[in-house]
Amino acid sequence: MDRRDFLKRAILGAALGPGLLRPTIAGTRSRVVVSVGKGRLDEGAVGVLLDRGIEVLFGAKAKDVWQELFGPGDVVGLKVNCLAGRGMSTRKELVGAVARRLISAGVRPEDIVIWDRANADLRKAGYRTNRGGNELQCYGTDEVGYYPALIQHMSVGSLFSRILIEQCTKVINLPVLKDHGICGVTLGMKNFFGAIHNPNKYHDNAGDPYIADLNTLPFIRQKTVLTILDGLLAQYEGGPPYMPQWTWPFGALLLSKDVVALDYTGWQIIEKKRAEKGLPSLREAGREPLYILTAADPQHRLGNADPSLIEVIYV
């Protein structure tokens, strides 16, 4: 067995091992914190929202939480969503605030990797790509390539970004709150389509069950410590590209340890906005994001999509 086979087996072994059957969060109540701000949201103001959200989510001082979750030796991937250019990608202010807190917790700047699918996407969204040196790292999978063994799991068979498989020990998922023309919404779980080489193959049936299946992979589930949904500017129609006429300044960050509960909450916020604007519901539009419910079913048990089990706290 060569190194590649060994690693592949280790990855898949973990996927099929008891970890998959162990409920992550399902069965217990999940907390989603919506930390809302007002006015101009520069990095300082976003940092305040972030700290407030973290404190309510974990019930501890933000600084202690960051130190508890991260520390020296961690290589932390910040998975941004950059496909929609400057208008509707993960805000640099949020990424900057997160990176600052990681550094305060003892993570070296060069061990923080801001990443998405391609350098070009990152640049279009306003990020300065950089690899090497002792500053923050920022690059796409195209810079380092995909881990060469095909990883097959449930309905998904893909090559995965080396950044996710080989480089990061922990991941903070930083998606954007927005509508999606095929899958209904693109939030936390769907953001990992940016980690595989063939996302175009998994949009059929509004992404169901592919998105849920993908997220059961242990290296996604176990490495993702936190999901922070960027709702500073949100979009309720016309996504995933940036359509300014359908955005609204929601001014919020949504935080949760349960990505399914977070996605469910984001979905409901978009539905509410659509109703307010006189648009059909996502079900009526033929793109209800049922993959979110699938992610909570007994086969996936990635989290809660039952509103009675989700505590949404606005702060």
């Binding site: 496909l83 195209d142 095909l150 068979g157 023309g181 063939n198 193959k201 996504g239 995933p240 590209p241």
Partner: protein, 377 residues
């Protein structure tokens, strides 16, 4: 036929030429720098799409008819909407090319013993779990280091390597439609013909237009059940049947390949029903190749097809009245050769990709005079 020393040397030399000639033209095509994000100006606009409100488009090239938002791509991953205009990202960017025997496609009734300048880009509009070329068919352009080769350069390369045809093959040529079309036009200007090796998953109008510039088509017929198409290939059966009927109606030469996969599409009933459909809709003279499956890509839990299973399929097809039935991926099998349906004599002898035309003259059996359908010169 017994291989004489002379015929063996001749065939070996021509096989070696096919192997070494690419070296001569290897430097012909530079590589496309992977990091470069092509500008809109350097891209070729796609054909067969409709503009929709809010910069969306609907691609009508293949039956998926993807509705694609601005900055997004269709299912095949090689066509991108930029500001409401749809572009092909693979025009002029083959990821691979080889000089192959035409028998490798396989096309057995099309210029036997000739070479085909074979090209492909990345991408595919289905996802067969048994794909043997998934490393190119299931990736996106930015994940490959492609060559740069205009249609004119492809036609010239085909001509200078002594190829009688350009074959669009390996992945799925439907998704590089514009490039294939223009290469075929350039090829014809130099007397080089064009053959498309396809899954047949294409809409009728683009197929009809394409036939104006093609000389032959080979369709990979995956199975005769919708269940197989949807579960194993992420496609549908009906459009493929429609394409086959259309090819018949147009009158272009075409052959069919059926990859026999143990337990999934090898039941005698399915094969019999398929043969009946072929005879009824396409006639008994369409060559049908039963080829052997080997575990690949996502289908690794099944064994290679037993030769006996292929022989059973062959018998069923012959029994139903098909005139030209072949067994593929089993080098040396006697069903690799072409026999006259009237007198039963061997007309074209094949071992693997080595071919000897021994009983065919002017498209007729030299023994009994029966016309043998195909493109022979």
């Amino acid at each position: 036929m017994l291989w004489t020393r002379r015929s063996f040397v001749k065939v070996t030399l021509s096989a070696s030429a096919a192997t070494f000639l690419p070296c001569l033209v290897r430097s012909y095509f530079p590589r496309f720098p992977r990091e470069d994000d092509p500008t809109d100006e350097s891209l070729t606009e796609a054909r067969h799409y409709e503009k929709l409100p809010y910069k969306k488009i609907r691609c009508v090239l293949c039956p998926r008819e993807c509705v694609v938002d601005d900055q997004e791509r269709g299912y095949c991953g090689v066509r991108e909407n930029r500001g409401g205009k749809y572009y092909t990202l693979v025009y002029g960017k083959p990821c691979t090319w080889h000089v192959d025997p035409i028998e490798k496609k396989p096309l057995f009734h099309f210029l036997p013993g000739t070479k085909a300048f074979s090209i492909s880009t990345v991408g595919c509009n289905v996802e067969c779990h048994f794909c043997q070329n998934w490393q190119i068919s299931q990736i996106r352009p930015e994940q490959s280091t492609d060559y740069i080769a205009s249609p004119l350069e492809i036609a010239r390369a085909a001509y200078y390597t002594g190829c009688e045809s350009i074959a669009y093959t390996y992945a799925e040529p439907v998704i590089f439609y514009e490039y294939m079309y223009d290469c075929a036009v350039e090829g014809h200007r130099r007397g080089v013909r064009s053959v498309m090796i396809s899954n047949g998953y294409i809409n009728p109008e683009p197929m009809r237009q394409l036939c104006d510039v093609l000389d032959a088509v080979k369709i990979d017929f995956k199975a005769y059940t919708e269940r197989f198409y949807s579960n194993v290939c992420h496609g549908h059966l009906r459009p493929v049947l429609d394409t086959l009927v259309l090819l018949k109606e147009i009158g272009i030469w075409f052959e069919m390949v059926y990859l026999v996969i143990p337990t999934l599409n090898d039941s005698p009933d399915e094969i019999r029903s398929m043969c009946r459909w072929i005879i009824e809709e396409l006639g008994p003279d369409v060559p049908l190749h039963f080829t052997r499956f080997f575990p690949q890509y996502k289908l690794r839990n099944l064994p290679p097809t037993p030769v006996k299973t292929l022989e059973r399929a062959w018998k069923i097809a012959k029994g139903e009245g098909l005139n030209f039935v072949y067994i593929g991926n089993v080098p040396g099998h006697k069903a690799e050769s072409t026999y006259c349906p009237s007198c039963g004599r061997r007309l074209i002898y094949r071992i693997g990709y080595m071919t000897e035309v021994e009983g065919l003259r002017d498209g007729r059996c030299v023994y009994c005079g029966r016309e043998i359908p195909g493109v022979w010169k």
